[in-house]
C-alpha cells in the first residue's frame, strides 16, 4: 500500500523568498509522484509529475521537484514566490492508476 506524508500543514513566506514544501512517501512498488495546486473553491491543477528518468522535474509556474529514492522524498521548490502562489498544495503517489493524496500544505505568501 502507498501513503504520502506532507510534513508541514502551513508554510508562511514573504514574497520573492524561496520556498520548499516537503513530501515523503512510502510504497512497496515503483511509484509515480505528482504535485497538484488547488486555489480556493477550485479543482486541482497538475504542477508537475515524476514518472521516470531525470530526478529533477520542472513544472509550471516556476516550480520544480526532486525525486529522492533513498530518502523516499519528493520535495517541491520555487526560488522566488509571488503573492499569486498562495494556495493549497497536494503531493500524490500512484503505484498504477489510483492516486493517493497527502493532507496538503497551505502556502501563504505575504507582501
Amino acid at each position: 500500500a502507498q501513503s504520502v506524508t506532507q510534513l508541514d500543514s502551513q508554510v508562511p513566506v514573504f514574497e520573492e523568498a524561496p520556498v520548499e514544501l516537503r513530501c515523503n512517501y512510502s510504497s512497496s512498488v515503483s511509484v509515480y509522484l505528482f504535485w497538484y495546486v488547488q486555489y480556493p473553491n477550485q479543482g486541482l491543477q497538475l504542477l508537475l509529475k515524476y514518472l521516470s528518468g531525470s530526478t529533477l522535474v520542472k513544472g509550471i509556474n516556476g516550480f520544480e521537484a526532486e525525486f529522492n529514492k533513498s530518502q523516499t522524498s519528493f520535495h517541491l521548490r520555487k526560488p522566488s514566490v509571488h503573492i499569486s502562489d498562495t494556495a493549497e498544495y497536494f503531493c500524490a503517489v500512484s503505484g498504477g492508476d489510483k492516486l493517493i493524496f497527502g493532507t496538503g500544505t497551505r502556502l501563504q505568501v505575504f507582501p
Binding site: V4, N41, Q42, G43, Q45, K49, K98, L99
Partner: protein
C-alpha cells in the same frame, strides 16, 4: 483548452434529502473518477469508471451513495439520504485511460448539508 465540467458548483441541502452531482469529462477520456475532499484534507477516491464499467468502488459508502456512467461519457453521483458528515467538496477527474497517470480535475461541487 478542454476541461472537465461539473455542476452544480455549490449545493446546500437538508439532511435526509437526496442530492445529485453531474460530471462531463474531457472528450475522449475513457477513465472517470469521483473524489471526496473533506475540508483540510486531501481528496479520497470514491469510485473509478473505465468507460461505463466500475473499476474501483471500494471506498464508496454504498448504503447511501451511487454512481453511474451509463453511456461511458458523463457521470452522475447521488447521495440518498444526505447526512451532515457528507458536507465536502466532490471532485470529478478524467484521464485518457487507466494507467495514463495524468488526471484532469473539474472545479468541484461544494456540498453543505444542514
Amino acid at each position: 483548452e478542454a476541461e472537465v465540467a461539473q455542476s452544480p458548483r455549490y449545493k446546500i441541502t437538508e439532511k435526509s434529502q437526496a442530492v445529485a452531482f453531474w460530471c462531463d469529462p474531457i472528450s475522449g477520456h475513457a477513465t472517470l473518477y469521483w473524489y471526496r475532499q473533506i475540508l483540510g484534507q486531501g481528496p479520497e477516491l470514491l469510485v473509478q469508471f473505465q468507460d461505463e464499467s466500475v473499476v474501483d468502488d471500494s471506498q464508496l459508502p454504498k448504503d447511501r451513495f451511487s454512481a453511474e456512467r451509463l453511456k461511458g461519457v458523463d457521470s452522475t453521483l447521488k447521495i440518498q439520504p444526505a447526512e451532515l458528515g457528507d458536507s465536502a467538496m466532490y471532485l470529478c477527474a478524467s484521464s485518457l485511460s487507466t494507467g495514463s497517470y495524468e488526471q484532469y480535475f473539474g472545479p468541484g461541487t461544494r456540498l453543505t448539508v444542514t
